[in-house]
Structure formats: C-alpha cells, structure tokens
Symmetry: C2
Subunit: 577 residues, 2 copies
Amino acid sequence: MNLSKYKIAIGQINTTVGDLDGNTEKIVNAIEKAKQHNAHLVVFPELAITGYPPKDLLLKSSFIEKNREKLDEIIKASEGITIVVGFVDVSETKVPRDIYDISSRFYTESRILYNAAAVIQNGKLIGKYYKSHLPNYDVFDESRYFETVKDIPLFSVDGLKMGVNICEDIWIDEGPTERQAKQGADFIVNISASPFYAGKGNIRRELIAKRARGNSVPIAYVNLIGGQDDLVFDGGSYVFDKKGRLIAHCRRFEEDFALVNLESQKEVILKENLIKDIHDALVLGIRDYVRKNGFQNVVIGLSGGIDSALTTALAVEALGADSVLCVLMPGEITSKSSVEDAQNLAKNLKVKCKTISISEIFTSYLNTLKKEFKNRKSDATEENIQARIRGNILMAISNKFGHLVLSTGNKSELAVGYATLYGDMAGGLAVISDVPKTMVYQLARYINQTNKTDAQHPITGLSYDPYGRPVIRPAGVEIILQNILDKEPSAELRIGQKDSDDLPPYEILDPILQHYIEENKTKVEIINLGFEKEMVEEMIYKVDHNEYKRKQAPIGIKITPKAFGFGRRMPITNKFK
Amino acid sequence: MNLSKYKIAIGQINTTVGDLDGNTEKIVNAIEKAKQHNAHLVVFPELAITGYPPKDLLLKSSFIEKNREKLDEIIKASEGITIVVGFVDVSETKVPRDIYDISSRFYTESRILYNAAAVIQNGKLIGKYYKSHLPNYDVFDESRYFETVKDIPLFSVDGLKMGVNICEDIWIDEGPTERQAKQGADFIVNISASPFYAGKGNIRRELIAKRARGNSVPIAYVNLIGGQDDLVFDGGSYVFDKKGRLIAHCRRFEEDFALVNLESQKEVILKENLIKDIHDALVLGIRDYVRKNGFQNVVIGLSGGIDSALTTALAVEALGADSVLCVLMPGEITSKSSVEDAQNLAKNLKVKCKTISISEIFTSYLNTLKKEFKNRKSDATEENIQARIRGNILMAISNKFGHLVLSTGNKSELAVGYATLYGDMAGGLAVISDVPKTMVYQLARYINQTNKTDAQHPITGLSYDPYGRPVIRPAGVEIILQNILDKEPSAELRIGQKDSDDLPPYEILDPILQHYIEENKTKVEIINLGFEKEMVEEMIYKVDHNEYKRKQAPIGIKITPKAFGFGRRMPITNKFK
C-alpha cells in the first residue's frame, strides 16, 4: 500500500473509568464508522477500554480480566480493518508485587501488568506494544501498577511498517519514536491520555511536530477527551506529515472522529487561546464529573461575589440552566448590593434562585455557645460558624433533593487557607479551585465578551455555544455584571471585611503563589524577583500551614501545571521552614 | 577487630519530617551517648535527617541542600566513631525529571536523588550506599523521587567488612543482603523506616532472622519510631547473630538506645500482642500528630457510644487528661443513658466535659428550611443536619480555643459511608478510622483489663503506663463501662435508630470488609466464602460509592495492611461494578 493512499481514522472518544462496557461500545461504534468510510486503520486513546487513570482498580483481578474480555469483543469487530487500541495486558507470570505482604495472611499473588496497545487486524490480535516510559510524577502513578520491557517492535500492516507508542513515550528524547523511525517505520501512531493544563496544547503540538520533522516520519497522535475526577483530557488529536506539518486534527474538549491521509494534505494552522481553553476545560470538567457520577442537578451557594458568579455561569454552560439551583444565604453582614448582584446574576442565567437567611440559625449558635465563649472576643470563630451554616444548608439541600454541591473557592484562597473547612469548602466538586483569583476575573470577562459576540439562535433568540447547542444566557447580555467585576473582594463574614485586610492584592499574591507552588521556587528566589520579604514569608507560611485544610478539600479541576490535590503530595506534619 | 568485641549502638530515634535541625540534634546526641559507651559504630534509621516520608518536600532544592548541610554537621561529630545514617543524596547531573514540563515556562531542572545511607568515620564521609529497591505500592511513592544504582558496595570499618542496605532492600529475596553476604560481609546493617500494621512486627522479625540465618551473617536492623500523619513507625530495632537468633532489640513505640555485641549474646524471645500493639500505635499516633503539629489540647465529641469512649481513653493516654476536652452535645433523640454513660466515662478518665445541647440550633435549621422542605418526609437529611451541627460546634471550640478536633468514626462506618461528611467526620485526625468496629470492642476491653492489672503509682494511687509515666485513669477501675460495651450501636440521629437497621451485624460486616478492602478479594470470591450474596453486593456497592466521602476525610492512623487514604487510591468517578 502506498502511504499516500493510506486512510487513517481517529477515534477521539470520551471514556469513563471503569465503564468497560460503555467504552467498548464507543470503540466498536467508531470502528463501524471507520469501516463505512473505508479507513484502513482506526486508532483509539491510551487505555481506552478501561478509561484513564484507572488507579487502584488495576489491583483488582476481575477488572483486568474484564478488560481482556472486552479486547476480545473488539477483535471480533475488526474484520476488514486494522485497529490500534489501548488496554491493560497481563503477563502469565505471577509475582509478589506487594513485598511487605509476602509473609502476611493478606498476601495474594498479583500479576505483572503492562500499559499496552493492541494491534488488531481482520479478527486477529497481530501484535502488542508495551509502554516503555511510565510517568510517575505530579498526578501520574504508573510505576505503581505497570512494568516495562525493552522491546520496541514495528508492526507490518497493509504492506506498511507501523510504529506504535504510548503517551509519555513520545515525550522522551531519543526514545521509542526515534528507535522506531530508525528501524524504518513508514508512520507512527501514538495513543495518549494526556491531561490538560493551560498552555499544554501548544507544548504538545510543537513537541510532536518536532518528532515528525526530526525523524522524517508521519505521526498520528490520538488523545483522550473527557473529564475524570480532577483531570480533563482535552483531545485535540493531531496528524503530522513527515515534514512536521499539521495536516489534520480533532476538536478539543469534545468527542471527534477524523479521517486523514498521511500525505498530500494541506497544512493546518492552529492557535491556542489560553482563557478559552481554561473555560472549555472547566465546562467539560463540570459536565463529566456531574453526569458520569449520575447526578442530574447541582446546587451552588451564591454570594454576590465573582467566584460563585463564575462557577454558576460555568455550571449553566456545562449542564443547562434547568440543572442549576442557586441558593442565596444572606446573613446580618451580607450587603444589600450582594443580594441584588446575586439575584441579577441568577436572572441573567435564568437559573432558579432561592433565598434562605442564616440569621436565625446564626443567632441560635451564638446563644448556644454564649456560656462557653463568655468574655471572649468575636474572632474568626464566628466568621467560620456562618460559613459552616451555609455549608450545612447546601448539604441539606443536596441530601434532600439529590443535587451535587459545587463549591466556589478559587486557588488563591485555597493556597493561603482563606476559606472555611466544612463551610465554603463543602461540596462534591471544587470547580475553580485551581483557578487563581486574577484568572477568575479574566474568565468572567471572557464569558461576558463571548456572550456579546455569540451567534444568536434563530428561534429562541438565545446564544449557542461552539458546539451548536443553545445556551441559556440571552445573547448580547453581560452575564457577570460590572458590579460584580468592580467590587472589592470580601467574604462578608464580619462588618467591613475585605480580602485585602488579610492578604496582599491578588495581582501580587498570585505571582508569588505561582512561583512557589507551580514553579517550586524557594523563598529566597521569590524575594530576589522583587517581592517584599515579609509578605513572601507570610504567604509561604500560610501555604505550608494549610495543608490540613486541603487534605479535606473536594477534588478540583486541574487547569495549571501544578494543582493542589493528587499531584501535589505534601506532608501535613512538616517542620521545614 | 574481632567481631565478638565489636560494639554497636542503635539510635532508635523519633524524627519529624522537615525538622532537619531537630532530627540532627537527636542524631548528634545519640552519637555522643554511643561514644560515652565506647561503641565502635552507631546506626540510625532511613532518612533520619529529613524524617520519613518527606514526600514532595523532596522536590524543593532548599530542602535537599539543608539535608546535605546537616550531614556535614554529623560528619563533624564523628571523631572516634563510625556512623551509619540515612539522608538524601543528590547527583551533580541535572536532568529534566518532569518530562511534561520540558517545553513549558515552568520547566526547572531537577537533580537525581538517592535514598542514601552515609558511612562516616573520624570526621570523614567514607562511603555511601544507595537504596536499590524502592517501594512504590500502598503508602509508598519512592519511585516518584529516587533513582537506583546497581552498585552494592561493602565498607571497610575497623578491620571488618560491613554491608549496608536500606529498608525494602532486605525484604527482597536474592537482593542486596545476599549479595553483600556473598561478597564476604562480616555483618550487615539495615536502616529502615518501616511503618506499623497489626502483625507486622512478627513478619519483620521472622524475615530478618531468615536473612541472617540463610546468609550466616549477623544483622543489625534499626527502625524508625514515631507518628507521621497517617503512619506510625513502631521501632523495635533488632540485632540477630549469624544463626538468626535475636540477641538484642529496642522497645517498640518509643525512642530507645541499645548497645550490643554481634556475638556471644544470649537469645531473646519476643512475642507480639496484636491488640496491645494496635493500642500502643494509636496512642503514639495521636501523641505525635498532636504534639508535632504544635497543639496543646484536643477536643472530642462524646456521644455515650463506644467509638468516642475509646477515642477519649486513647487520647488521655497519649496526652494526659488535662489536654483533653470532651463535649457532650445531646439532641432531642439522645437517650438519658447516653448522657449518663458519657458523663461517667469523662469522670473515670478525669477529663473536662462540657454539655452543649444542639436542640435550639436544630430547631432553627428546621424552621429555616421549613419552606424548602415542605411536603417532604424527614429522612437522612435531618439526621445529617444534627451531625453537622455537632461538627460545627466542635470546630467553633477548636477555632476559639485552638484545640485540635479528634474525630471518632471507625473503619467499618467509613467503609460503607455510615458517617456524615462535615458532621461526625469533621476533625484534624480520625483516630480509629482504620479500626474495624469489632476491633474497637477488643481495644476497649484491653484498656479495661490492663487498667485492672496496671501497677499503681505509689503516691497518686493512679496507674502508670509502660513508660513509667502516671496515667490519669484510676487504677483498678473499668474505664469503658459495661453499659457502653453492652449497648447496641446507634448513631442516635432518629428515634429508635440502630446501626443494624442499615448494616449487617459487625461480626459479619467486618470480615466482608476485610476480604474486600485488605485482601482485595472479588465479590464472587467473598460470596464463595459463605457470605450471603445480596448482603455482599450491597456492602461492596456501599464501599465503592463512598469514595467521595473518604476523599474529604481527615487523615487516620493506619493499623491494618490496607487503610483508607494515601495507600488506597481509587477513582471517585468509577463505573466498574
């Protein structure tokens, strides 16, 4: 077969971890579609059968076995086509992986696992490739589960030599891609589950272009799409010709199916919009967390501030206004303008909004604790009580009606502990907990701006989104009101309170936090960048001493290179200064 | 030097993660003590300088550098003695460890790290050993940080050939210990940070005995002691002669210093008492978490049930009665006997006990939510509101007085989600969250029993603990009253409620949970052991569907081979049945 006539289909599917049946169904459907389009080859993401990352499900023998059974189903569907699909392979050798359990009553043999790609053709498994570079940093734990082999094979398909490698493999200089190219691969397929952070699309695209160009080999790169707990896989699968020119791609943040010839195609130019990407990642992250976990509706506490406004706007885009319930919980300190702003936001977004005052409950707490707190000044305690009353009310609504609580705290607050555990931190998903406060404003402005320029739906008069689905917000309207954008940030938990009483301006705090958390710079290095010494010391102290709060935070959607949560593993007991 | 005259000192110290100054001070003090006793060699645990596990502190260059400076201090203290001590070594080669960041603005070079043992003598670093088997399962993440080398050297000290290896290395069949023995080692030192679970002491001792016997080589095994977040290191350092006979050991669950000759010693017989060990681990875990995090006092919600009774008894042993505040928070459903039992327990333990009724607050919640919940039946919502009021009150006391909240839920509850997030789950440390309910009873009985037989303090008439410190409980008294042991478990959140309304008897539930969680058995395997099919299915469903609650649980003290938390990494979004 001449490479120029070779037709590849890319099945950029949205898998769900553990949904072996559903994932396989999607794979088989895409195979059928590829056949209908007379594709020679169809490729699917890394661990497409199991979903990614399967984590400790990999330690369950029944999980591994069912994944093998599903591979057999896919093999049966391969008549007349070649398939590359990710699965978990298992060696027949049984070994004691958990060394400590050797002599214990809990010892069970476990088998050696591989993060594998199956090469399937005409009803037969004609080859397997085992991932040779296992990521084991940040959110990745692959050395916990998988072994590697040194074998980097090529596969003969339709008279062409195909190299296959998996995700991390292609990021390695002088790694499998080089080796396969040197062995004479006519083209290379990389199957990935590469999670999003802002800016990663460009990095990824440039890297794969470099691999194609440097090795004079066409590369088809298929990436997973979908939200899985804290991670969003952004898709954007690419095909590069051997000159490193992008000749085809899938859309990002949605399922897609592409057909491409590896040669004689025009170059495509792609540009990233950082804020748009973050917006799309958050929307997808919400939608998939909520839907894949079987929820119909969410409930959000609306304060009149920008964080809850943004969270609500994103939730409406993700789920539709009918699925979003807002609850406004004013207390004695809540300003009139906060109430109005919150109500107007709800009106703009056409979401239901209930008002439930916390005053009576707060009074009853103060009464109940009066004796214990006698002669003690009012302090953060009373502020936290109010936040926790709101948390309790939202959870009560969640319990009574089955709505998932979305919490609304941003990354800057979470970093320095400017949040109440079990209060505003309460919820099932912390939507913007990896979004620094300054970026919260950028996202709000982006939503306002796109809304003004959005196309209008011919019948409803509403905007519709880039995927052609009508969105609830009325076109041309500023969703997040100027009032909300302009007001000074405040938790409104004591009279006259402002964030700036306790924290530096976010324009200064956010870069400090980025240097410390994302770039892992030392205190001295940050001070040397020109930040005030005392401020840097105080903020780093706050970051370090709030690990216990973050331990108990809900999962949040990762959009930066270093989010709090699974990818950042700090001890709580820690005397390092 | 004749081996029979060679005197080894074991410095079984309690390090704190990140406390490089404090840890080094302990090391230097023990070196001085070893010199005073004319020891030739003194040995310290794995990563003694940094504390274990340092986790992502290892990614901070300032942390690594300071650890190297501290090693220099130890080297200076080594005149006239040989020292083996754990530290983090760093290769001069700089590599991009975080591959994904290669092209990003956040890319920083990082250096190759080794989990190392320094061999120091007379003011000089005479050798280094790098751990060659990195544990990367359960709670261990060492592949995330460290590299290995193939070199397994011997060190020449005082005319003897010494093999050194680190923790996991000695668990490996045909591993470093065999290789060092074959190279002619006169004795082997293993430095460890081996965390506790019930039964591990015996497993560890038998394993090291086997290594000594099998290789005809004496082994000095020094283990870390102390609590670090969820882990308790139980010490119990051992010395075996070349026949595999135990000839010396350190105490468990406390700092110790032992002097030993590798030959001509009598055999020592040790026996483990599982329940005593668990008890001691929990006491140490509480004490170190509270003290190392700088807290003076703890506050515990007392219900009259056995879980909070046990937690309080353990806290009193760990911290002294003066450091424990109990709060009884009766509601409308709380029985008179619960109040009495709780008060009697507090009296027995001589702890302060406050009573704060939740009735007024609960009424105010019901009032406030009346409109929203109109025409809805009372259900788990109202139960959870009560639990969360209690959580809020405990947190208010914590905020106002700086006490750490200890939560009181057991493992059985946490497994099946029979606990209220932000309610009874609220706290800084979940003391018995790895203790199954049936074991809660065993521990309570153990405390009663030892208390009866405890030695009486000559002056105060109080018991004193194995470390000679007076404990608060009056000798001879049954601490956890028979009433508490006898009553049927109930959350007392609705009238007539019993745990058995929702759960099988704990005598049946606990083995099912052990098979599923600790032994990783499949549903079918558990049913085949003779458990009722529907019950197994329902309980496994509950375990799987409460991952989101456990994500937000406080850390708990690990006492089983598989605790919830850091060592069990399950996805929340998970459709695997």
